[in-house]
């Protein structure tokens, strides 16, 4: 399946060139019908970094599929702590684990993540950032590295966010492979307490779309709790029928 993405022109040439390069590489490396060994539904990242911010995060996805046991009853959980290092860079470290139909919850691995804010919010037609991830899965002794281009744009009370990721998985025992993923989100800023969103996930044999809700509860001294909950429905036959996603993020200074 060819990937056709247009890149808006209203941002600096340096970013434009690297963005186009990333998209170009990804389009070449796109593999039709990659095997469905991963959970694609996760979250959509925004490109912003706040200096001095620290956070604790919990994310969970639960998958169900009526006619594919490999996709059914899978639960993946992730616990992370993070902080920013400047007004441009932030880092986070995660532990994750999963349980399946015939396997109890087991700690599976850890992940390092760095986010880089490239442009000032609102300065150009779209806001840009990058995400770098390195993950190690201990059971399969497998590594995964990912680079994601993040873009966000505002249309009145709507915010559109796109994540385009290129992943590489390698290990001694499995075939090394390249993958690409696309995550899209449309968010309506109704009120801080409740924002309806629509999300799309594509990659690794999954194409899913569904409603997600988000709310923010504020506490003293700029502390806040952000919750997200939603269900992504599989559009294609090989996609999981439904994927429930939940996340809680506590931000403090």
């Amino acid at each position: 399946m060819p990937v056709v993405l247009t890149v808006p022109t209203g941002f600096p040439p340096r970013v434009r060139t690297s963005g186009l390069l990333a998209l170009g590489c990804a389009a070449v490396l796109w593999q039709p019908g990659a095997r469905a060994d991963g959970v694609v539904v996760d979250r959509v990242y925004d490109p912003y970094v706040q200096p001095l911010e620290k956070e604790i995060e919990w994310r969970a996805v639960g998958q169900g599929d009526s006619d594919d046991d490999a996709l059914d009853n899978l639960q993946l959980q992730r616990l992370g702590i993070g902080r920013s290092f400047s007004d441009r860079w932030a880092g986070e470290i995660y532990l994750f684990g999963q349980n399946t139909e015939d396997q109890n919850f087991d700690f599976e691995g850890s992940e390092l993540e760095a986010k880089w804010q490239l442009t000032e919010q609102g300065e150009y037609a779209a806001d840009w950032g990058m995400l770098f991830e390195l993950e190690y899965e201990r059971n399969r002794q497998q590594w995964e590295a990912a680079t994601t281009l993040i873009s966000a744009r505002e249309w009145g009370r709507w915010t559109g966010t796109a994540n385009f990721a290129v992943l590489y998985e390698w290990s001694d025992d499995y075939v090394n492979e390249w993958e690409t993923q696309l995550r899209l989100q449309a968010r309506y800023r109704l009120s801080p307490k409740f924002e309806p969103m629509l999300e799309l996930y594509a990659g690794q044999g999954t194409l899913g779309l569904g409603p997600v809700m988000r709310g923010t509860k504020k506490f003293r001294a700029a502390r806040q709790l952000i919750w997200e909950a939603g269900v992504i429905l599989g559009i294609t036959e090989e996609s999981p029928d439904q994927t429930l996603r939940l996340s809680l993020e506590y931000e403090f200074y």
Binding site: Q50, P51, D87, E120, Q121, T159, K218, A221, A222, Y253
Partner: protein, 109 residues
């Protein structure tokens, strides 16, 4: 209408000293957990470059749900915040570290 716009332009260039790279520029200062000025008049339907100086030693956050902006400014530093283009109207903002005292609004005309 034209003279009103001219007045705003004059005010803006006075406040900013210079016109930034294409965008009108306005400045805001945080001192003793207060925003000065607490009312910022900006041209409607135009993107504006807002420079916020934090003169306090403690961090402050410029926050506005109406403007869709959230920006932490470290003590003694400054931050650039691009806002708009805004429809005519009032857009409240506050400082998240001191929400009771640090308040203000952007007025787009």
């Amino acid at each position: 209408m034209v003279s009103c716009r001219k007045k705003i332009a004059a005010l803006l260039s006075l406040a900013a000293g210079v016109w930034g790279a294409g965008y009108p520029q306005v400045e805001l200062e945080i001192r003793d957990h207060l925003f000065t000025p607490s009312e910022l008049v900006v041209p409607a339907n135009t993107k504006v470059k807002l420079i916020v100086y934090n003169r306090d030693p403690t961090p402050e956050e410029f926050e506005s749900y109406q403007l869709n902006r959230e920006k932490v400014i470290i003590g003694g530093q400054r931050a650039i915040i691009f806002i708009g283009p805004l429809a005519p109207g009032e857009y409240p903002f506050f400082g998240e570290f001191n929400p009771k005292t640090a308040q203000g609004k952007v007025i787009a005309r």
